[in-house]
Every structure is written in C-alpha cells, then in structure tokens.
C-alpha cells in the first residue's frame, strides 16, 4: 500500500489566521468564543466564534464570506508546496462543508446557495484541472474528506489531494441549534459535569495529502488509516452504546495492527452536549482508549461543523509536532460515565500515533490515524 503524506496546513478561525498563531493562542488558554448581543438576531446567551473581519480578504467582487475563506486557505496551503499540483489532472481539491453559503438563504433562489457553487468558484479562481469534490456529511465531513482523499490516492486515482473544510456561523445554523436546545449558555464545557451544550464557531482549514513527500516545502506527517461507520440507531441522537464510533475506531486500528494502547493522543469530537460526550466516553472505553490523553478543541473556537474535522486534525498534528498537547478547555470536573484521560494541563504525547474522531447527525462517525515525526 502506498504511503500517504499529509502537510501544508492552513487555517482561518476566531483565534487566528495561521496554524502557529492559533496553536499558540490555545497554548495560552485563549478562547475565540465571545459574547454577542443577540447574535444574528437569535435570542441566546451562547457565545459564538466569529472570524475577525480583517482576517478575510475579498477574493472577487461577488465572492461570499465562505468562498473568501476557502480561497485564502487554498492559497496558503499551496504556498507551502514546492509547486501547485491542482492545475494538473493528478491533483484534486475536496471541499467539506455542511451548509455552504447558507447566509444567502434570505434571498430566495440565490444560486450561491448551491454547494456546487463552491466548487465552481474554486475551479475558476485557481484554474483547477478537476472539478472539486464536495462532501456534505454533517459534522464528520472534514474527517471523512481526509479519509476519502487518502483512499483516492491509494486507489491510484490522484497523486495529490487538498482537503478544505469550511462553514460559517449564520442565522440558519444558530437558530436551528437553539431550536434543538443544544446551545450552551456562555461557554461550552466538553466532558464536564456541568456541560449544557455547544457553541457554534466558524472556520476554514486546509491540509494536503500526497503520495510524494517531496511536494512539501516544510514538515509533513503520515496518514495511516481511517474509517467511517453508522450507528444505525437514530438520526439526531447519539447511540447509547457508542456503536458507530467504536466500530469506526476498530476499523481504523485493526487493519494496520496498531493497538489502542499505542495511541499517544486522541483529539475527540467533544461538543459539550450531554449525549454526545457521554456516547464518546462509552465508545472510547469499548475501544480501550480510556487511558489515552484526550481533549476537545470546541472550547477554543466552537463547533465548526463541516470544518471541524479538518481544523482539529490540522491543530492536532501541530500539537504532536511541538510535543505539547493542549488542555481540554472548559473541562473541570468529570462528567461522563466511562473513564477518560482528559488533558488538564499541557503535556507531551505518549507516542507518535495521533487519532482523530468525529461524530454527527445521521448517526455518522469517523476516525483517522496519523503518525507524526
């Protein structure tokens, strides 16, 4: 099986516009989540993670906020490659998003609402050889994009794939999670006894996967394996047994003969809702991951939906490279029924294997394994 390398990180989120800046803000315990008076007209005290306007450059006259974010990440990831491989047939861009330009829904029949518009925009802006692939699979979109990229490379379909994740905070998503009573007051507290829900955040992030390690100017890591699995249980409630998440982890580790005990760091989904976090703790115990250092990044920039898997994988790889894992912000007192080794102060990873997991509506779950250094 061919090796798959991963690198060329880019990011745009409430905490900063470079991987280093964001990671260092996290090391300092900063959060990008802020109190906003009736955000987007929604009656909530839940803090939101908004990208500062001065981070986002207007790409074209009529390009949207999300398109500008994706374009910026594309440019910054490509700048970390020796050449731009995406103007050739053997390069592909995958865009992971749940809702795309959903901020345009107030204008009926706005063509920018179509998710394919993001692909058209990127293709035209950067002269891409192939039409970008659009993955919209709820909150696992980002991790699924990375897994899909690696599989396409291993199947010999492409040599280089950029995975871009992007979602914005909007009236649409904020009102929906409010209607589901899923938003926390103030700040989220993943895995904590007093957790009451999520914060929404917005982000775009990019990673490049390739079978050619000379593509990268700087450091790169290795993608090892990954899998998705469905709970086959409920469309909006996590499985009580963590079935799908457990299966996705088993199907990630077993084929490559990596034992759960060998994992040095687990970046979990940790939304801060009662049911999600509890489900994860059960799945992790079933998967023998209870002792692995684990955190949720949601307290730093919120739940970024389709971008979450890309930005959190990207920052997890950064933390592994620097050998300093950051605390699970918002966590104080154990609030899940199965044991977890939640990171409460900066520590080094216990090995060079990094596992990323995600779960989402539709009963979907995904896991991906990386080797760093």
């Amino acid at each position: 099986m061919s090796e798959v390398y991963i690198g060329a990180k880019s990011v745009l989120c409430p905490l900063g516009d470079t991987p280093s800046k964001v990671y260092e803000a996290m090391l300092n315990g900063e959060t990008g989540l802020k109190s906003v008076e009736r955000p987007f007209g929604i009656d909530t005290t839940s803090h939101v993670g908004l990208i500062p306007e001065n981070f986002i450059l207007q790409e074209h006259m009529d390009s949207t906020r999300l398109e500008n974010m994706l374009a910026l990440c594309y440019e910054r990831s490509v700048a970390k490659l020796r050449f731009d491989p995406f103007q050739d047939e053997d390069g592909l861009v995958i865009i992971c998003t749940t809702k795309g330009n959903i901020d345009k829904i107030n204008k009926n029949d706005d063509p920018r609402l179509s998710l394919t518009r993001l692909g058209n925009f990127m293709r035209q802006s950067f002269d891409l050889a192939n039409q970008p692939m659009i993955i919209s699979n709820a909150c696992i979109s980002g991790v699924l994009g990375i897994i899909t990229a690696a599989r396409l490379i291993r199947a010999g379909k492409y040599d280089h794939v950029m995975v871009l994740g992007g979602d914005i905070v909007s009236e649409f998503t904020l009102s929906g999670f409010a209607a589901l009573h899923a938003l926390t007051d103030g700040l989220c507290k993943p895995y904590d006894k007093n957790r009451t829900g999520i914060n929404l955040g917005e982000a775009a992030a990019g990673l490049v996967l390739s079978n050619d390690d000379t593509l990268f100017k700087g450091t790169y890591d290795q993608y090892i394996s990954g899998a998705s699995a469905n709970d086959a249980n409920h469309i909006s409630g996590p499985s009580r047994t963590g079935e799908g998440l457990h299966r996705s982890i088993e199907r990630t580790l077993n084929p490559v003969s990596v034992d759960p005990e060998q994992i040095g760091y687990l970046s979990a989904h940790g939304t801060g809702t009662s049911f999600n976090d509890e489900m994860e703790s059960i799945a992790f115990e079933r998967s023998r991951l209870s002792d692995v250092p684990v955190n949720s990044m949601k307290g730093y920039f919120g739940h970024t939906l389709g971008a979450a898997g890309v930005i959190e994988t990207m920052l997890g790889l950064e933390a592994m490279k620097r050998k300093q894992l950051v605390p699970s912000l918002g966590f104080e007192e154990m609030g899940v029924s199965s044991p977890m080794n939640i990171i409460i102060e900066t520590i080094p990873p216990t090995s060079n294997f990094f596992l990323k997991t995600a779960s989402g509506f539709g009963g979907c779950n995904a896991a991906a394994l990386f080797k760093v250094g």
Partner: protein, 199 residues
C-alpha cells in the same frame, strides 16, 4: 478494478422501475412516494416523519436492497454513498420559513443535512458500514464508481449502495444501484450513465 452491478432502481416521473422493468406507477390521490410505500405494504411509521428527500432515498434503498441478497454480507460490509445536486435545500427553505414565521422547527432543522437520508437507510437496514454524501452538478456515475473502487481497494466495504436523490417540489429524480466487487454484470461509468438516462 472491475465493478459489478447487482440491482438498480429508477424512480422518476411517477414511476418506479427495478432492473429496467416497471414496478409500479403513481395511480391514486396520495402523494407519489406515499403511494409507493402503500403499494409495497410497508409498516414503518418513521417514514411519515421523514422529509421528502429521505423518503425518496428510503424507498429507493428498500427496492434495491430487497433484491441484493443483503443477508450475504456482514452488517458493516455494505457502504452507503449518496449524492445529489441540491443537498437538503428544499427542506432548508421549509425550515427557514418556520423560523421567519416565529417558531423555528427543530424537527425540520434535523433534516437540513443531506446525509440524514443515509442515516435513515442505515437505521432501517441495520447497516453499520461506511457512509459518504457527495454534491455534484448532475448525476456523476464516474465519481460514484470511483468511490466504490476506493472503498473496495481499502477493504472498507464489499458492496456499496450508491444513490442519486433529487427532489424539487413534487418531482423526484432517484437512481439507486447495488455495486459489488465481485459478480456477473460488469458496470462502467458509461454503462451506468446510460441506465440512469434510460438509454
């Protein structure tokens, strides 16, 4: 890598075709998908809670999987990879209307993700395998079969239920196919496109 077509189903213009043969037509006063549901004698109350996109996916999966010897596969050997052009946009508008009328509907909001229909299918058929949802300009057989190949090459599935589900008001454009890594009836993106187009 060779791919094989086991079963396929076409749902369009008030007709359901299975493996190229007419299975049923829209005859009665009921909305089309409800009448198909009745025609096949299903008892699955969750069907009535679903949005139209999920109903289309649900019926298509039912028709296809029932004829694909599903019992021969382990419960995580069958992947579900769906696609469409409009994502969940029709339900997005319905949800947004409830928001603007003053009471945002949480029940509708849940359906504002296209992969919810994949979740409904996995619940119904107890499928714990791989999932993906791709959004493309039009039915893209090459991209869907490429996904099958990538899954088979990674030993992540032994069969894939692929689907295309487009809903606009009361018109439906559904195509479903059970693709396997081993079998009799070899399929290519050209032949699958021909089947989709009814050529």
């Amino acid at each position: 890598m060779s791919l094989f077509l086991k079963t396929y189903c076409r749902i369009k213009d008030g007709e359901v075709h299975i493996n190229g043969e007419l299975f049923c037509q829209h005859m009665d006063e009921e909305p089309f998908l409800r009448s198909v549901y009745k025609h096949i004698g299903l008892t699955y109350p969750k069907f009535f809670k679903m949005d139209e996109l999920s109903r289309l996916g649900f019926i298509g999966a039912e028709m296809t999987l029932m004829r694909s010897e599903l019992e021969e596969y382990a419960d995580d050997d069958v992947a579900v990879v769906f696609s469409n052009h409009s994502s969940s946009l029709q339900t997005d508008f319905q949800y947004y209307d409830t928001l603007k009328s003053g009471i945002a509907s949480p029940g509708l909001f849940v359906y504002t993700l296209p992969n919810i229909e994949v979740g409904e299918i996995c619940i119904r058929h107890k499928l714990y395998g791989e999932n993906n949802f791709l959004v493309t300009e039009r039915f893209d057989a090459a991209q869907l079969l490429e996904q099958c190949e990538a899954l088979f090459a990674d030993n992540a599935a032994k069969a894939v239920l692929i689907g295309w589900t487009e809903v606009e008001n009361d018109t439906h454009d559904g195509f479903f196919a059970f693709i396997t890594a081993a079998g009799m009836n070899e399929v290519t993106s050209e032949s699958l496109t021909d089947i989709y187009l009814g050529r």
